[in-house]
Amino acid sequence: MTTPAIRVVGVRRTFADRHEVGVQALDGLTLEVAPREVVAIIGPNGSGKSTLLRIIGGLLAPDAGTVEVDGRPVIGPDRSVGFVFQEPRLLPWRDALANVAYPLELAGVPKAIREARAHDLLRLVGLDGFAAARPQQLSGGMRQRVSIARALALEPSVLLLDEPFSALDALARERFDIELLRVWERTNTTVVLVTHSILEAVLVADRTVVLSPRPGHVLAEVAAALGRPRRLEDLARPELLEAAAQIRALLGPLGDPDPDPREILGSGIEHHR
């Protein structure tokens, strides 16, 4: 059996809240992700989704448990893991090209090489021609594309995305989901996507991991209803909607993370809103 791309075993993490009282975010969470797999993580607010992602990315240390990426224990941020945050987090004083080249610059890659690579990455995310644009000149969606290109700059084996499209409207988000898959097909990465959207999860992932309310642990895993490649039209497929309904049932009345009439009543209602 091949080494899993990500292995999380018995991870626990507690935070001190405003009143110095410990709030347990994760309680003995265990999860394995295979190489090149796309896994979506969904759960109610406070279920520790983002905490889990930060622990895998080495930005947070777990209180207990072990985390491995490519068979090596995670002891801090690593260049084999790319992180896409909820906000694009672009450096406003740099143009798109220099933002994408930033990780390469930190890694000491010579200028000519990193710029050529950044150009390739901008092309990959559909932004060739915007190399000289400042973040302020780009739309929210374009900024997030730049941030995805930046996360891929060091050719990570694992790409972690923390609700990357949550700031976009629902229609744009679905297009970006498909585009993310297109980028994924051309790279060699394992993808873990934290999301609030059940439809996003079932559209993108090979497997959706459902977390329990706080303290978070794995409640259930729902396998993909569809093969690859995925298309926007798949959102209307009954298998996909059935998987979505299954996840919604697991989340229960408490776990309505993203009230969206389409998700509750099916996709027909949208035009009447």
Partner: protein
């Protein structure tokens, strides 16, 4: 190409109001003089000041004093700004330093430099050194505070990004903290540069035998040449404006257009 085409009307749009403002100011000055019928030793007319200004520069009265004052301003500004950048960084970095040092900073800033100048002149002599110290002191506070505020304003989410990319402490400083702090620091430097001009004049009043502050005193006192005094004030103002313009140019170059 397009930018050049757009730049020309834009330049007119900025130049015209400035010109109108200047003409209005001189016209008002002239009008006050005519209406009040003030003698030249109270309020000389603009034309009188202008001709005295030209003559003072032509006959070599003004130049040596202007050069002396410029020297004090530039040295004092550089010393004060450099110290302020270092201390501002220290204050931003260390809670302890902030706790221990900030009361003295505020106290020093609240004490009028005018009141300290004679003392500093006594300690450091009536030469260049005391003026540089006074300029440096007056420049220090705004630059230190703006550095502190600028470094504190760095977006913590960008720092987390830097950490996720394994940036070293030094890389975080050069690629995130400096660029993020720059607009604020440049704002402090703009204020500091104009205050440096004030500092030099105050320093010269507290004791000294050359500089524009000395010339103002001479013109008002033993020479009793009020148009020369106005011409000297004009020189001081022009120096301040030139230095301010220079910092704006530097700022545009360093900060660029971020909005």
């Amino acid at each position: 190409m397009t930018t050049a085409r757009h730049a020309r009307p834009a330049r007119w749009h900025t130049a015209l109001p400035v010109l109108v403002g200047a003409v209005g100011f001189l016209g008002l000055w002239q009008a006050v003089d005519v209406v009040g019928n003030y003698p030249p030793y109270i309020l000389p007319e603009p034309a009188v000041v202008a001709s005295r200004f030209v003559r003072a520069w032509a006959d070599g009265t003004m130049a040596p004093h202007a050069v002396a004052t410029m020297r004090e301003i530039i040295l004092g500004f550089l010393v004060g700004a450099a110290a302020a950048l270092a201390v501002g960084y220290l204050l931003a970095r260390s809670r302890l330093a902030n706790l221990v040092l900030s009361p003295y900073l505020v106290a020093a800033q609240s004490t009028p430099i005018l009141a300290l100048a004679p003392l500093l002149s006594l300690w450091f002599g009536s030469g260049l050194l005391s003026k540089v110290v006074i300029c440096a002191l007056i420049v220090f506070f705004p630059v230190a505070v703006s550095t502190l505020v600028g470094l504190r304003s760095v977006d913590s989410r960008l720092l987390e990004l830097g950490h996720s990319l394994r940036a070293t402490r030094r890389q975080l400083f050069t690629t995130l903290e400096i660029p993020a702090a720059l607009p604020s620091v440049m704002g402090g430097i703009r204020v500091g540069v104009t205050l440096a001009v004030v500092g030099a004049i105050i320093g010269e009043w507290a004791g000294g035998d050359e500089g524009l502050g000395v010339l103002i005193n001479l013109a008002r006192g033993s020479l009793f040449d009020i148009p020369l005094m106005f011409a000297t004030l004009l020189t001081v103002a022009l120096i301040g404006m030139a230095l301010y313009g220079l910092t704006i140019l530097v700022e545009r170059r360093l900060v660029g257009d971020r909005s």
